[in-house]
Symmetry: C2
């Protein structure tokens, strides 16, 4: 339990610290998985005080979400897709996902999340809350707020859309089914984009 | 390592034995997962000689596949779907899957397979070989043998179709996203059926 803060200097608070915490957390989630990663361990790896980690992130789940974030603001990515042509929202979403997931530093974190979601209720809830509600649910809400019929079975549609993306992610990054690994993002988007379009937009 | 064959009588060889082995294997895969299940342990649980297990099943993978089989002949189920109206093949497939997976004795085995596929190459290969090649690949081959254009990216299409089904299975049986759990098979099939139809049949 003894730490050796003298070995590496503590970083001052600020944006740099937040980035260092996220980088350490990303490495820990990828190496050890979700359950075995602790806020304290991340603080140690980032050479910051544990209280600083709690200052930036309320919970391990929130810290995890931060490690998965696109380099840009994920809200901005979503807004951009939603601002594009209505008949290409599914395609735009699918493209954004592979742009995020194909990044070599994020793939192991994604695989770790999916594995954890199968075995721990905490990680499962995170997947439900983040991917399904924050991303797909919001797409449906935004699209229907633009003057459409109220969506039928919004949460079911969001869930099945998430199922398609999670399943393809498993085959591309975890099970590594060769044809799905070898495909370019464009080739996968050509199949999956219209599927998301039907689930989320056309209904 | 000592066994007590006297505690329960050994069963004679025959169909009943094969069924007893499958039942014991199903329980073991569900309780312990794929890796921790051994042919020897299954033999012990079924109260049969280990050589008999090897007589019926060449490998643990083959034994596993047998535990997942529909009560009827899976080939027959597939033949029936393929013999139906061409524009409802996707729907028929999706319906067959939920008929299989919703059975309470099979759900935990399915969840265990998916979990194992994320972490062990053996289980991953099993998923690829069985679900993708034997089921979805065969659908594409059969449909295209009926006089269609040769399929483009057959293995990619089969993989993405498998991704949709694996992903929905995760949300319904493992992550247990409430709207996907609460939906009837018909409601899910209404969304997923046309997706499989496009991936596998319409291309």
């Amino acid at each position: 339990m003894s730490r050796s803060p003298s070995r590496r200097g503590r970083r001052p608070a600020g944006e740099d610290t937040r980035g260092a915490i996220i980088a350490a957390a990303r490495e820990s989630f990828a190496d050890k998985g979700y359950d075995a990663t602790s806020m304290r361990g991340v603080a140690r790896a980032a050479a910051v005080d544990a209280r600083l980690v709690h200052h930036y992130f309320e919970s391990k789940a929130q810290l995890f979400t931060a490690t998965m974030a696109v380099p840009a603001d994920p809200e901005a990515v979503l807004r951009e897709v939603l601002a594009g042509p209505r008949d290409r929202i599914g395609e735009g979403l699918a493209r954004a996902f592979f742009g995020l997931w194909d990044a070599p530093d994020r793939t192991p974190v994604l695989v770790s999340l999916i594995g954890a979601a199968l075995t721990t209720e905490h990680a499962a809830r995170m997947l439900r809350e983040f991917l399904i509600s924050e991303v797909f649910g919001r797409v449906i809400d935004t699209v229907s707020a633009q003057g459409d019929d109220p969506p039928h079975g919004r949460d079911l549609r969001a869930g099945i859309a998430a199922g398609q993306m999670v399943g393809v992610a498993i085959l591309r990054y975890a099970v590594r089914h060769p044809p799905v690994v070898a495909a370019t993002p464009d080739e996968i988007v050509a199949w999956v984009g219209p599927t998301l379009q039907r689930y989320l937009v056309d209904g």
